[in-house]
Symmetry: C2
Subunit: 365 residues, 2 copies
């Protein structure tokens, strides 16, 4: 049985609570012999700042570099509203993404049948929804330089952010999107603002070229990011795989998540390039929801998004797709049986806390 | 009776059709003595490119500078997909915004009672919705330099866009938002990404300062742009005035428009600074929808967004709020009577074309 190193970074807010449930599940899969998961734990975000003044320490970064997969909870909260910009909780997450080279962020937006009614959208608009957003995660306005605030002679200030994209960066995320589309409904929609942004012009051009040269059998459509946001609200089922840049991906994936009524349910995977020698890739798995400081420590949080992120780890990092299917099925069954955390409760369901939900999924396995 | 110069720029696609209906209404208000509207016409977008190789000519720009208000239709379409970047249809609109200094883009997102059922959202989520988005329109990533695509030595390319905001730019749009909130439900929400962008850090800081110094009696909340997109989908009625930058405003206002189910109904106003000497401000009025090339020339387009944009002109440029109320009421009455263009049709309504809708509103006046 192969040894697989997991680095668990619970982070802030509800992070530690939901990650506790995941660790039980990880233990179960070790016992089953899927892999020998060796779990190490580190600090990130406000928790890391409180402990040693940085949003992630160099030694935890080294653990992340050495890990086969990182399981990430959530970061941030009002407690750290005034820490310096470079030490804010989010800086830990951004450093992990950048230093591990996790350029491909996969965010499935799935409407669980049992939860369609929880959406603010009409049932027929979201029922059966299954979109995969492929967001570029290590480029764009998140990391481009200059990124600064300059004080001018008259005392006024000027803020600057720079969005940069290169041919290589766009090519590799485009390939990820097309490869995934081939395993799904064979359609890619690419969102940018080529009518206003030069990075959008380049994006559209390169997606078109990669499509023609390597994936001509997959359907491709280009959509302006603002129109895409509209279309997600109007009729989201028109999309299969949606590929876009870091900033548009941030917004469009949040919209897609909210449509499903399943925000507390949605996982994500952030993947690096495959090492040609070992066939391995760096990876971080993270729920789409945030640290929810308002309910932190109360045992109310929904652990499903984080558990489901571990299912993505089984699939993408450990090539254990049967184990992933098993875990996904356990989640579906528990929901079908009417169990709910408070965020997804509805009529005729039974509301339980974080631990009870984790235990129910474990029992279902 | 004061003479007021209107420059009409119908543009492309359905632009000329819907603008034709507005001109009838303008004529009616002249006859009523609200003002002596002198209408001139110009070209913008693909229409201007076809005529003289630029998305707007210098002489039409001079007319726009001299006008008391510009009425703008829509620009763009597949016909001009391959024109050079600097001559693309959108360049005409962007030049108008920039050269006229139209920094304040006001986009009301109103759910017309008669249309609540047309939304993809549940009725209770959108019924009665009335948000005003105040989008900064002459700064940010739309206009910052460098904005270019560079070819590198190895033949690969790099695209760059630059987002810049200064203290002064943020202060003036913030003031517009607070002033408008005072005439409404007294609440401003400011959206940025201060957790990732330095322009977001500056934005949040200056909004906070202007609030404290000048508008402490108005409620202010800060929201991250990605979360704001989510919240618009979840429960949009939490917002009153939403102030944000050029790019986030582009996306968030499109989401808000789509929520209402009234995309073909929504107007916008783009305003410059008030000239302290004359009390006048440059202004452009424009429907939120685009040029809809698929239905252009068929007489099917909904003219209400453009007519309603003229109502905003009456209000903001001509201080004729009674006339504006009259026009708004006429629109509401026509809808209440069951008249619809195809884009907003539903059960028990009577579908008519562009001209019939324009005539019905005229008759109702
Ligand atoms: C926490 C924040 C830095 C992050 C982002 O903007 O990428 C979050 O919104 C996300 O989408 O993962
Ligand atoms: C046409 C385009 C340049 C424009 C924009 O991006 O501002 C449009 O989307 C809008 O919102 O007015």
């Amino acid at each position: 049985m192969a040894t697989q190193k997991l680095l668990v970074l619970p982070g802030d807010g509800i992070g530690p609570e939901v990650m506790g449930e995941v660790e039980k599940i990880v233990g179960w899969f070790t016992k089953q012999g899927v892999a020998k998961f060796e779990v190490e734990r580190g600090l990130v975000g406000g928790a890391a700042y409180d402990a040693h003044g940085e949003a992630i320490s160099n030694s935890d970064m080294a653990l992340a570099q050495a890990a086969d997969a990182v399981l990430f909870g959530a970061v941030g909260g009002p407690k750290w509203a005034d820490v310096p910009y470079s030490k804010r909780p989010e800086a830990g997450l951004l450093r992990l993404r950048k230093d591990l080279g996790l350029f491909a962020n996969l965010r499935p937006a799935i409407c669980f049948p049992a939860l369609a009614a929880a959406s603010s959208l009409k049932q027929e608009v979201v029922e059966g929804l299954d979109i995969l957003i492929v967001r570029e995660l290590t480029g764009g306005v998140y990391f481009g330089e200059p990124k600064e605030i300059v004080t001018l002679e008259d005392g006024s200030q000027r803020g600057i952010d720079t969005q940069v994209y290169t041919t290589g960066e766009i090519e590799r995320i485009t390939r990820v999107a097309f490869e995934l589309a081939k395993t799904r409904r064979n359609k890619v929609s690419s969102a940018e603002k080529h009518n206003v942004m030069k990075t959008g012009v380049l994006w559209k051009q390169i997606v078109t070229r990669v499509h023609k040269a390597e994936f001509a059998d997959v359907e491709l459509e280009h959509v302006l990011a603002d129109n895409c946001a509209m279309q997600l609200v109007r009729w989201p089922k028109q999309y299969d795989v949606l590929v876009t840049d870091n900033l548009f991906g941030d917004i469009l994936s949040d919209i897609a998540a909210m449509l499903t009524g399943s925000l507390g349910m949605l996982p994500s995977a952030s993947l690096g390039a495959e090492d040609p020698a070992t066939g391995k890739r760096k990876a971080l798995y993270e729920p789409v929801h945030g640290s929810a400081p308002d309910i932190a420590g109360k045992g109310l949080a929904n652990p499903i998004a984080t558990i489901s992120s571990f299912s993505m780890a089984l699939r993408y990092s450990f090539k254990a797709s049967e184990a992933a299917d098993l875990l996904d099925k356990a989640i579906t069954n528990v929901l079908a049986a009417g169990l709910r955390t408070a965020d997804i409760k509805s009529d005729n369901t039974h509301v339980v806390g974080t631990t009870a939900m984790g235990d129910a999924i474990l029992k279902e396995l």
